[in-house]
Each structure stands twice: as structure tokens, then as C-alpha cells.
């Protein structure tokens, strides 16, 4: 049997040796170690991005290499400090980051912190939508596959899970767009909302930047409907990727749980197989999903770059692609630092939750 992700063993398996309380360690130390690990993770990413971005040259040449005489070009490179040794530039940048100064973007002259706030909410909205799709598609289908294990529906769903997981996000996005937007005209081609809706949401006082939330807060159901129609395809393109993982995970875990003594006892009492799956077996099977969901945040953020670009969903991923093209070092570094922080912090939180649920992981 092929599984994308094997469920971690749990106490319910009854296969693990009895736990021993260890002197010294414990939850506090575990949290501290995990917390401290966040910093080197971010530092490594920042360092890699800093040096990789500079391999292809300086941004002044990229922007104006064709229009300015070489002397003027050199003057501007010198004035901006891009002719200094790389290590000097690197340590200066780290110093700025330590003080919370992300700088100003080179290509469109905006404060990086302001840019991160503006586009971060769009990416958050996409990620929420994608997780909803992943849960709604992955969990029920995983339960169906487990219920109908080794029959045709199970085989079809397992293949479907692999397809979901293996299809590149941009390809899925383009395919969905082609079918539902270009051919059928059912859903919008791109963007987060129609022009009028965007204008009305922009005019709101203190918008959150999460469009469906802003539309609901303002009681504008037409705008909500418009926002949702724009959200479907990007959420599907990105969410199905994770749905594939959830489907396999739920299936494996439910099948494992269905062999447990208490389920057998229910079966012997005449409880139907459907009821066993939906009432008793799925609960313990969902716990590992919390752990996997944390890991999927990194996958979702990676996929968001491609999804946002495909659907002109103007979030951090979309901006990252633009700033990379413009070789805007400052902006790219800012976005990567934020993404690194999100991934590191999410994993930290998930580790803590996992440790609270299952104390064995602390040791």
C-alpha cells in the first residue's frame, strides 16, 4: 500500500513502550529549544537570499543599464552603495533587520513594512481559503476511501489523491482557469474582486484587507458574492494540493483505527460500518492532521507564489515574483524574511501543540 504520509504512531496503537518520566527535560525546555531554533532558520534563509540575489548583478544596472551612459550608471551604483564589499552590505543589512528596519523598495519606492502588511492579508486570505478547500475535500474523501477500502471508490480516490498532490499548482491553476473562466465563463479570470467591489471595499473604514471579511463586516452581500466568485479557482488550485495529502492521511488513519478493539466491539454489537467510520474512527484519525497542517503552511506559501501569479491574486507571492523580476533586493529580502518567520513560527506553534497532545514528542 502506498501512502503519501504515514500517520505517526499514537498511544491508541498500544504498540509503544510505556512512557517514563525523565528528569530535567519536560515541556518548558522543549519549548525553549524549539523557540531558539527559529532564529538560525531565519538567518540561514536571509543569508541565502541576500547572496543569491546579488549573483546576477546590481539593481541599478538592471533598471537603467540601457538608458544611462556607463559613467552615470557607475555614479548611481556608487551612490547607492552597491559597489561596496558584499560582506559589508550583508552585515549592514542584518543590523537594519535587528532594528526592525526593512528599508524601502528599490523599484517602486515604498516602505517594505507597509508593503508586507498590504499584501500579507491577501496571502493570508488565500491560505485560509485553500485550507478550507483542503479540509473539505481531503477529510470526507479520506473517510469514504477508508470506508470503501480495497474497492473501486477507494482505488479511484487514491489515484485522485496522488493526482492532486502531484499536479503542479500553476498547471492546475491554468487548467481550472481555462475550463471555468475561458471556456465556460462561469468564474472570473483573475483578481481578488471586480473593479466596483474593490473600490467599495477600499472605501471602507479600517478594512482588514481580507476581502470576504471586509464584505461581511460592511454587510455588502453583493460584494461578498463577487469576492467569493473570485476566490474559488485560486483556492481550488492551491487547496487541492493539500487535500491530496489529507485524503491519504485520513484514509490511512481511519483504516488503522477501524482495526482497534473498541471498534471491533462496536462492530460485534451490530453498529453499521458507515457509523463506525463517521462516528468513532475518524476522531483519532484527525489528530495527526494538526501536525501535518503545520507542515503544509510552508507548502501553501510556496504554492501561493505560483497561484497568485496565475490568478493575479495580489498578495506576497505575486509581489515576490514581480520584485524578483525587477531584481529588487530590498523587497525580496523583506518578503522572504516574513515568509521565513511565518513558517518558523507556525512550525513552532504546531510543535508545541503536538507536544501538548502527545507528550512523547518532547523527548
Amino acid at each position: 500500500m502506498t501512502t503519501l504520509i504515514d500517520a505517526p504512531p499514537s498511544d491508541a496503537d498500544g504498540l509503544l513502550p510505556p512512557r517514563k518520566k525523565q528528569a530535567g527535560g519536560g515541556l518548558g525546555q522543549y519549548i525553549l529549544v524549539r523557540f531558539l531554533l527559529i532564529f538560525p532558520t531565519i538567518l540561514i534563509l536571509v543569508t541565502m537570499v541576500f547572496f543569491l540575489m546579488r549573483i546576477t548583478g546590481d539593481p541599478i544596472t538592471a533598471a537603467m543599464g540601457g538608458r544611462l551612459p556607463p559613467e552615470q550608471l557607475q555614479e548611481r551604483i556608487t551612490a547607492a552603495g552597491y559597489d561596496r564589499p558584499l560582506l559589508v552590505q550583508y552585515f549592514e543589512y542584518l543590523g537594519q533587520l535587528a532594528t526592525g528596519n526593512f528599508g524601502t523598495t528599490l523599484s517602486d519606492n515604498r516602505k517594505v513594512t507597509e508593503m508586507l502588511t498590504t499584501y500579507g492579508s491577501a496571502t493570508l486570505e488565500l491560505a485560509i481559503n485553500a485550507i478550507i478547500v483542503a479540509l473539505l475535500v481531503g477529510i470526507p474523501l479520506g473517510m469514504v476511501a477508508a470506508h470503501r477500502r480495497d474497492h473501486l471508490p477507494d482505488a479511484v480516490l487514491r489515484i485522485l489523491a496522488i493526482l492532486f498532490y502531484a499536479t503542479p499548482v500553476f498547471f492546475a491553476g491554468m487548467l481550472l482557469k481555462l475550463v471555468f473562466s475561458v471556456w465556460l465563463h462561469w468564474l472570473p479570470v483573475a483578481g481578488r474582486a471586480g473593479t466596483r467591489t474593490e473600490l467599495s471595499l477600499t472605501a471602507l473604514e479600517a478594512p482588514t484587507g481580507i476581502y470576504w471579511l471586509d464584505a461581511l463586516r460592511s454587510g455588502n452581500m453583493a460584494a461578498f458574492s463577487d469576492v467569493m466568485s473570485h476566490a474559488v479557482l485560486p483556492a481550488l488550485a492551491l487547496g487541492l494540493l493539500t487535500a491530496g495529502v489529507f485524503l491519504r492521511l485520513v484514509r490511512t488513519n481511519v483504516i488503522g483505527t477501524l482495526g482497534k478493539d473498541y471498534v471491533e466491539a462496536g462492530r460485534s454489537r451490530g453498529v453499521s460500518e458507515f457509523r463506525l467510520v463517521t462516528k468513532h474512527a475518524y476522531k483519532p484519525a484527525l489528530i495527526p492532521i494538526i501536525t501535518v497542517m503545520g507542515l503544509q503552511i510552508a507548502v501553501l506559501l510556496g504554492g501561493a507564489v505560483l497561484t497568485e501569479t496565475t490568478f493575479e491574486w495580489k498578495g506576497l507571492g505575486f509581489q515576490l515574483a514581480n520584485y524578483l523580476t525587477a531584481r529588487d533586493f530590498v523587497a525580496v529580502q523583506g518578503i522572504v524574511v516574513l515568509l521565513a518567520v511565518i513558517v518558523a513560527v507556525t512550525n513552532f506553534i504546531v510543535d508545541i501543540i503536538a507536544a501538548l497532545i502527545d507528550p512523547r514528542v518532547r523527548y
Binding site: 546576477t56 548583478g57 556607463p70 548611481r76 478550507i132 471586480g194 466596483r196 514581480n322
Partner: protein, 546 residues
Amino acid sequence: MIKSTKALHRAIALAGISALALTACTGPSGGGGGTASGGSAGGGAITFGTTDKVVTLDPAGSYDAGSFLVMNQVYPFLMNSKPGSAEVSPDIAESASFTAPTEFTVKLKPNLKFANGHALTASDVKFSYDRVVKIDDPNGPASLLSNLKSVEAKDDTTVVFTLKQANDQVFPSVLGTNTGPVIDEEVFPADKVMSDEDIVAGKPFAGPYTIDSYKKNELVSLKSNPDYNGLLGKPSNDSAVIKYYADSNNLKLDVQGGNIDVAGRSLTATDAADLDKDSKVKVYKGPGGELRYIVFNFDTMPFGAKTPEANPAKALAVRQAMADIVDRQAISDQVYKGTYVPAYSVVPDGLPGATQPMKEMYGDGSGKPSLDKAKKVLSDAGITGPVNVKLQYNPDHYGKSSGDEYAMVKEQLEKSGLFTVDLQSTEWVTYSKARTSDAYPVYQLGWFPDYSDADNYLTPFFIPGNFLKNHYENPTVTDLVQKQLTTPDKTERGKLIGDVQSAVAKDLSTLPLLQGSQLLVAGKDIKGVEKTLDPSFKTRLGVLSK
């Protein structure tokens, strides 16, 4: 455990409700644009889509088409051009003229004001120009003011620009470029570029429109400015929206679906050809300022001055033979589907003073190639075997079709049997440095004008120390370029511009291939589109209406 499972139930229920909402609200929507109701914009608003980006709304910090698209709608200019013309005239000025060889005096209209209620006076004008020069931002247009010595506000409505060089005939045009917006000295800081958000909040606008709401490079909503008193007049619409796209495919699909009214830059040639067949939209074409050309490095080209076989006559013959062979119309038709048209001069057709000397001088005399003429030129120069040309192009700076364009140039040259072409491409950052260090004997470049004047295609290219750095120098050409720049009489200046084009066509420092055309696609109900497609290359949303 009970609590956690309940929480789990709730989470799943919440997810279910959200997803139901997600799917229930999806129905035929008609796409991504303005079909949704519930907004605040009026029905008469014009929505203009573009892939251009705003760098900054601060005139001191931007020198690009995307920023200028917005600036041109919301800021007032001293000089501008009427829709349909490239000739500059006073905009918010009452008069503007040379009052001495190095003095250009502008008299403002009385009682001008910004949208925030502040008075617009000569002091604001002085502040605006001094600021651009002082900030000298790397992305800014300060270089356009290289001939400006000082600005003086004589009184509330009189401004005197003192120039370094006398009779600069280009200066009035410069006042209508990226460097020209007049801004409010009570809003902008004097020594640094201001953020877009702060600019929008300060409402320092006195052009045909003011900015109503602003989401950078996503959506800009403009409202007609009743206080604008200038050359362009009151807009034909009450409001306009600029919607930004990253992908021209989405731009195309949205104009086809009626979600935007007009699609501007940058639809591809294939998009334009496809849209031409769509009955719901109309494709408008107008003269464009972009020039695509081949540069010859006079030191390193075949028989160039620093090659072992250096021979100026033979080098000239090679350039002339290439000019005889290249088939511009074929490239225009096959690669660009007519969105670029053949260029037979270094000054694009449509600009005052533009001629087409290369049409008669090379090929069959009517713009088509001539193999016989090329053969004769080479044999007369004593060149017997095929000439090997190392030809470079750039794949990432001048559009996706550069590869096809230069593959076709190679094919045309090699098909003649007179050339073998070693065609190579290099990524832009390296390319832009290498070309000025003599690395490429023959190579591709392109040019977008800073202002609509023939000089912008002459001075940067054909005087000693020009930005091409291709070692071309001709004292006669240098003298003619300088003369046209300082000749006040329009007729005489036009003749001089013609003389420069002929002289340069003989020397062939560069070989112009194609001239861009402006392209707009609009719904059938949109009026006034053709009015903004003129040789000024300025998009004016005020002429559009439904």
C-alpha cells in the same frame, strides 16, 4: 478529550459553512471586472486596464510610462499637447516663450488652485523644478533638466527659466515630460521623495482629475477635477479607473469580457491579431515612439577600426549591404502582426521633421530588399566571400518576440549568401554592460522617447560621447544636431532635422528596423479612443467616454 472533540466538530462545521459560502456564491459572473454590483463607482466611469506599473506618484522619483500615465491625469503641466497633436502649447500657462536666448518665461493663468484648496502660484512652479534637480533620485527625471541653470518666480504668476545653452528648442517639450508636473510646495518635502499614500492624502492635484482612491498597482480611481483650467479641458467622463494587470492574457480576456472598457499597454502582437477578429471589441492603432534598431560598433564590426582587417570603406559596405537585404515588412508582418511597422529613419515617422531617407537609399528604393544591390555594394568594396557577422540580441528587455525578430534577421542575411551570422543572446544586466565595453560588434537595442521631439532620437545617439558608445563620430552630423537644437524657426529646424537623418542614413551608425505603434483595444460602446493615439504618446483618459 470531550472538549477537544467538540472544538474539532466546531472547526469542521465552520469550515463547512465557509466552503458552502465559497461554492454557493459562485455562479456565472462574467469575469473579473466591473460586472459585480455593490460598488460605489458611477455607471459612466471608464475603466482602463494596463500592465504598466507605477514606480511612484512623486515626479521627482519616477521616469517611466506607468507613473506618467497617472501623473498626466492628475498633475498640471506648464506645457502640454492637445489630443491629436505632438506640438507643445501652454497648458495651465497663459503664455510661454523665449524672452532672451537663455530665458524661457512662463506666465500662469490667474487663480489656479490645487484640489486641497491651496493656491497654485509661480512659487510652486519654482519649487517643483528645483526639487527634481535637488533630489536627483536614481529613478527620477533630473537628467532631463540638464540644460536648466535656475528657476525664478518673478511674481505670483510669472516664472523665468534660465538655461545654460541658448535657444534650446527642446526645453518647452521637456516641460511636458515626467519632470514637468507642477506640485504643491505646502504638501511635498523639498529634499526627499514622498510616499504615494501621503501624496494621495495631501491632494496636491490640479490636473484634469484628482485621485479618489488609490491602491498601488492594483486600482486607481480618478474623479474629474472641476478646478482644472488648462489645455486639455474638462474630461468627457466623470470618473475613470486604472486597473493594473501583471499578465497581458488577463488584460485581453477582461477587455473581451467587458470587465474593463479599454485595454492599453502591453497587449502582444498575437493578442492584437486575435482581438481584431472579436466583434465585441475594436482595435485602435496609432503612431508609436518606440524604435527598434541594430547598432554597429565601428571598432569591432567586420572591417572595423580595431579589427585586423580594418577598412572603413569595407565596413561601410557591410552596413549598406545589410541595409539592402533586411526585409522590415516581413518582420513586421510575421513576427509582430503589424503592431510594429517598418522604420526607414532614425526618427520615427509622425514626428515633426521626420523623413524616410533609408527607404530610397537602400534596397529596391521602395522599402523592399534588393539582393542585387547588396551584391554590388560588397563587390565594389572588394569583398568576395561571405561576411561573418556576430549578432547579439537581448531576450528579456525588449519583449518576448526579440528572439523571433533576430532569428528572422539572421535568416534574411544568410539566405542572401552574402553573410554568415553568429546569432547569440545575453540576459539584460550583462548585455547592457557588455555592449558599452565593445563586446558586441553588431547588436540589438530599442528606444522609448523621453519627449515627443525628433531631437530625442538624435542627440543621445549621434554626437561624440553618445550613449551608444559605438565609436561613431561625424563632425558634420554633430554640427547639424547642435544646429537643429538651437534653431528657433520651425521650418528651418525641420529642414535641419531632415539633413541629420540623411547624413546618418549614409553613415549607418545604426540600422533602424521597426517603429512601434500604439495599440488600444476598447469595447464597441467606448468613444474617443482614437483621440489619444497621437505622436505625443500620452494616454489621456479625459477623451474617453461611453
